[in-house]
């Protein structure tokens, strides 16, 4: 359209365009302009040789996406922002997003739904506002909450859940929640109770995307060994034998801060407070000087204190896109979904590897098989606690152990409530026999890594 066009022609042209802006199958009060969903429709309304065996071309699939399909996005950070955009531009209109964080300036290099003026505001709310304000028809509902603050009724309403989390604990909890929604009738899984979980993760230039069909394919806990436990420096190194600049920072964080309480009694180290970091940095320099260690910088200090993982926009864009593609495939049956794990690394060229992660027969989360605990009756309760936290397949954080004794529910040990911890602490030093436990005893273990208790069966060995 030429810039110098006559006003009359222009007005008529605008009218024409207006008329053409009728949705292909209207949805409520939102009109879709011509061509808006063309790129999506080609995959929903045409036959093809590689489509899912269940796929049937129709105009209804698009309507399902636009009107009915409900997607839950967990996390509104690096992956979350990308996911919201990808889903909104692919036709999904009913999206909820959960994130407990507020926006930090260091998010702005990749979390593009946020602007400098948004720093301090809840991520979920700003992200939702942004998308809703700019993608007509899209309705993103934010939840400024922890995932643990929402219950079964909430999660049950979604067709698909897609995660962009930065913690293994949270992933496992989400995994456990969707597993808890499964319905079994006479031992047979009711397929309609399955809510697919698409999980993405990134770290620097590496990332992965996986498709989990709870109850059917490998779950997060089936492949827990893929997330090796975080290695912490040994205490003796930190306390008396530092060699690296990181050791010096950990010394200040773990030993010096609690001793000197530089900002007052009971004031914990806040990694987001620059004055706190500055103090740690100075003290770390002093510590390093004592041992002739070089390399302590402000950036290194902050990285150690906050356990910072480097991040860029590009990796998040790639992994979120792969996840969103899978959401689309599953929601529309347009193609066979990823089966079931994609690994990505673009340090040297671009490398992807796709494989099928296998279910673990005795997975503590999804196998429904009571977990075996083999200990002699002379073993102390502490040993069971250590096993629960250290075993690579369990990796519990602060398990609470309860059991039934003399027909009554008894808490053997619980860490997360101070008064109960104090009361039950002596049990750790008692033997299983002393605690009155018998061979075949069922122990119920609760932990932050799962919304449901995990049942263990005690087998006495000699």
């Amino acid at each position: 359209m030429a810039e110098g066009e006559e006003p009359e022609k222009k007005r008529r042209r605008i009218e024409e365009l207006n008329e053409n802006m009728v949705v292909d199958g209207g949805s409520g009060d939102h009109t879709d302009w011509q061509g808006r969903w063309d790129h999506v429709k080609k995959f929903l309304e045409r036959v093809g040789p590689f489509t899912h065996p269940d796929f049937e071309p129709s105009t209804e699939s698009l309507q399902f996406l636009l009107d009915t399909c409900k997607i839950l996005v967990i996390g509104a950070g690096g992956l979350g922002c990308e996911l919201l955009k990808d889903l909104a531009l692919s036709g999904f209109r009913h999206i909820h997003v959960v994130d407990m964080d507020t926006i930090d300036v260091s998010n702005l290099n990749r979390q593009f739904l946020f602007r400098p003026k948004d720093v301090g505001r809840p991520k979920a709310e700003v992200a939702a506002d942004f998308v809703n304000g700019r993608v007509p028809g899209c309705n993103v509902v934010p939840h400024f909450k922890k995932i643990q603050d929402l219950d079964e009724t909430f999660y049950r309403q979604f067709h698909i859940v897609v995660c962009g989390l930065d913690s293994v604990v949270a992933r496992r909890w989400m995994n456990g929640m969707l597993l808890s929604l499964l319905i079994y009738e006479d031992g047979v899984l009711d397929l309609s109770s399955i809510i697919p979980l698409i999980d993405g993760g990134t770290e620097g230039f590496k990332g992965n995307a996986r498709v989990i069909l709870p109850g059917m394919t490998a779950c997060i806990d089936c492949t827990l060994e893929l997330y090796p436990p975080q290695i912490n420096f040994p205490m003796c190194t930190i306390a008396s034998m530092p060699r690296l600049p990181e050791h010096c920072v950990e010394y200040v964080r773990m030993l010096l801060w609690p001793k000197e309480k530089p900002f007052g009694d009971g004031v914990g180290l806040d990694g987001d407070d620059p004055t706190h970091i500055q103090w740690v940095y100075q003290k770390s320099l002093e510590r390093a000087a004592e041992f002739s260690i070089t390399g302590v910088t402000y950036r290194l200090t902050q990285g150690v204190v906050k356990r910072i993982i480097p991040a860029v926009a590009s990796t998040n864009a790639v992994i979120a896109a792969a996840c969103a593609t899978e959401v689309f495939k599953i929601a529309t049956s347009a193609y066979v979904p990823l089966n079931n794990y994609l690994v990505f690394n673009d340090v040297d060229g671009l490398y992807t590897y796709t494989f099928e992660a296998e279910r673990k027969e005795n997975c503590s989360a999804c196998s429904q098989v009571p977990q075996d605990l083999q200990f002699p009756p002379s073993a102390k309760l502490q040993e069971i606690l250590d096993y629960l936290t250290e075993n690579a397949s369990l990796q519990m954080k602060s398990p609470a152990i309860t059991t039934t004794l003399d027909g009554k529910n008894k808490t053997l040990y619980l860490q997360t409530v101070a008064s109960i911890e104090e009361r039950t602490r002596p049990n750790l030093n008692k033997t299983l026999k002393e605690l009155g436990l018998v061979d075949g005893q069922e122990l119920a273990v609760a932990d932050v890594t799962t919304p449901q208790t995990v049942l263990f069966k005690l087998n006495f060995i000699s």
């Binding site: 365009l17 207006n18 802006m21 879709d32 011509q34 061509g35 808006r36 063309d38 790129h39 999506v40 995959f43 309304e45 045409r46 093809g48 040789p49 590689f50 990808d86 531009l89 692919s90 300036v105 260091s106 702005l108 290099n109 990749r110 593009f112 400098p116 942004f130 304000g133 700019r134 993608v135 620097g204 230039f205 995307a209 034998m241 060699r243 690296l244 041992f291 260690i293 902050q302 993982i309 480097p310 860029v312 926009a313 590009s314 864009a317 790639v318 896109a321 792969a322 969103a324 593609t325 689309f328 193609y335 990823l338 994609l342 673009d346 340090v347 060229g349 671009l350 992807t352 796709t354």
Partner: protein, 555 residues
């Protein structure tokens, strides 16, 4: 000024930890040209604007279409004028030029970035002023017809400007990188072997090892001796009994490990370290020594990639025009052939290990000091070299030389062939294409299909299957294109009908999630080219969103 710096440091913190301040500086000094603000184009640019590219110029002669507004990440920021009504906004934008609309909206993402737009098709620019493209650090061409990217490719090849071609075609992503010669000092390899020189310890290391008397140490010192010292000591013993030959195979390495196990006895101090069954346990540092035998005893040699760099013509013939990469490489080569005795300058880093602070720091300093000494010698060679071609010694900085020496074992040079070579019947990579197509579902078939749809476009001035009524008849037309392509290149391969059908089905669609995948991938490759850190792909990348697989071919 300081405020701006700190706020930029805060904003870019997470990425500075990957490419450092000098990488960020390179990014901020770059000027990228992106052609076509489609979904793919704006995704790529978004991922360059967010990390702080200095300047971008968007070249696009198209008007915004209804499809763009539905698909373009730019649409995310479109309705930024709340006062104007919703409907009117759509119309106004649809009348707007795509380049301008996209530029305004992308700039919103990062106020540090400058954006320009040129409302002109690349073909027009090539007709009237091809030098327009000479100013850029990198040109990225998105969704271009074949004739355009071939023309552009030729201009940029002559001008020495790197060219990245990207296309999203249905569920397929494609990238082609064209750059004559791209040097990388900091490749940041994922799994790098340490440079410990245990097989042939340099003098200072030998002396340092000699200062330890393992047999007459206090228990506390013994168990906090760095494993490097332990291995060095036992290697001396081994050498004396094995004619100075390294343990080579599994058997010999196991024997060496056993030597260490048996030797972990302190003669005059009773063993205190025993486990619950009362049997003696190895001290942790000795355990570390045993564990590291496998890798610590590899012979020190120049890696083949570095050797190739030394033997390259650009390294041999240094002129006043030579980039500093080759000048320093020549200097390192001189070092290797003289003072280095066939070995690279010592890297100077050691891994963390169980040891008391004092022993560790002293050992670390032995390596650090040697690295500095070696780098100084390399500097002398470089200085002499610069002098011989009439350049001042300040042409390369100390820092540059030190960085080069530290990364001497990880240097990479990437050379991506020109499009002319890829397309010519005489020089195209027949072997690669034929061998990949032994498996008919190899990603190579996607490449052949893209070449075929380009052929279709050439003949019919449109892509196949864009409108529903075209799909059926275009399948046969596309098949003719496939056959003519295979015939022209005498390719005796089987392209399954399914792929021909699928590519008609795509109707040249640009689905957002595929565009976004490519957007992230391409942006990172662009950042690699600009920062000269990490290694770019060479030279053709294909992504299949149906199977979530990808492949890289050198065509």
């Amino acid at each position: 000024m300081t405020d701006n710096k700190t706020s930029k440091e805060q904003k870019y913190d997470r990425q500075l930890r990957l490419w450092g301040d000098h990488g960020q500086e390179a990014l901020e000094n770059a000027h990228v040209c992106l052609i076509n603000a489609t979904a793919t184009g704006t995704e790529i640019l978004k991922n360059l604007v967010l990390p702080g590219i200095g300047v971008f110029t968007l070249v696009d002669g198209h008007k915004v279409s209804g499809e763009d507004v539905g698909n373009n990440c730019v649409s995310i920021t479109i309705f930024s004028k709340p006062k104007v009504t919703y409907m009117l906004n759509d119309v106004v934008l649809i009348l707007q030029n795509r380049a301008q609309a996209a530029t305004e909206l992308l700039q919103e993402l990062n106020s540090d970035v400058s954006g320009n737009f040129v409302e002109e098709s690349p073909d027009k620019l090539l007709d009237n002023s091809p030098e327009f493209f000479h100013r850029f650090s990198l040109v990225i061409g998105v969704q271009l017809p074949e004739s355009t990217y071939l023309r552009l490719g030729s201009v940029l090849w002559e001008a020495g400007v790197p060219f990245l071609i990207c296309r999203t075609y249905g569920l397929i992503g494609y990238m082609r990188l064209i750059v004559k010669e791209h040097t990388v000092v900091e490749s940041h390899p994922d799994n790098a072997l340490e440079d410990l020189r245990l097989d042939q310890p340099f003098t200072e290391l030998k002396h340092h090892v000699e200062s330890y008397d393992l047999d007459n140490m206090e228990k506390k010192d013994h168990s906090h001796t760095p494993w490097i010292i332990v291995v060095a000591k036992y290697l001396e013993k081994w050498y004396s009994e094995h004619n100075s030959q390294l343990p080579k195979n599994y058997k010999e390495k196991e024997a060496f490990r056993q030597l260490i196990r048996e030797g972990n006895v302190i003669h005059h101090i009773p063993r205190i370290l025993t486990n619950e069954n009362g049997t003696p346990e190895d001290e942790e540092n000795f355990e570390e020594a045993i564990k590291n035998v496998n890798t610590a005893l590899n012979p020190t040699k120049v890696p083949s990639a570095t050797e190739d760099i030394f033997n390259a013509e650009q390294c041999e013939n240094i002129t006043s025009q030579s980039p500093s990469f080759w000048v320093i490489a020549h200097g390192v080569r001189d070092f290797v052939r003289n003072e280095g005795n066939g070995k690279l300058p010592v890297r100077g880093t050691i891994p963390d290990m169980i040891a008391d602070s004092d022993k560790f720091i002293k050992l670390q300093n032995v390596y650090r000091d040697k690295a500095m000494k070696d780098a100084a010698v390399v500097s002398k060679h470089v200085e002499a070299l610069l002098q011989s071609v009439g350049k001042p010694p300040e042409s390369t900085s100390e820092q540059e030389i030190k960085l080069f020496c530290k990364n001497a074992a990880f240097l990479r040079v990437v050379r991506c062939r020109s499009l002319a070579e890829e397309y010519s019947v005489d020089t195209f990579n027949k072997d690669e294409i034929t061998s990949c197509m032994d498996s008919t579902d190899s990603e190579m078939v996607l490449y052949l299909m893209l070449r075929s749809v380009d052929r279709f476009y050439q003949q019919h001035s449109r892509y196949p299957g864009v409108y529903n009524y075209q799909v059926e008849e275009d399948i046969n037309k596309l098949k003719l294109c496939v056959n003519s392509l295979l015939q022209e290149y005498s390719l005796n391969v089987n392209v399954k009908d399914d792929y021909i059908h699928e590519f008609c089905r795509y109707g040249a669609a640009e689905p957002h999630t595929v565009a976004a995948f490519l957007g992230g991938s391409a942006a990172q490759e662009a950042i690699k080219i600009i920062t000269h850190q990490f290694v770019p792909f060479n030279n053709t990348f294909l992504y299949n969103a149906m199977s979530q697989t990808s492949a890289t071919f050198q065509l």
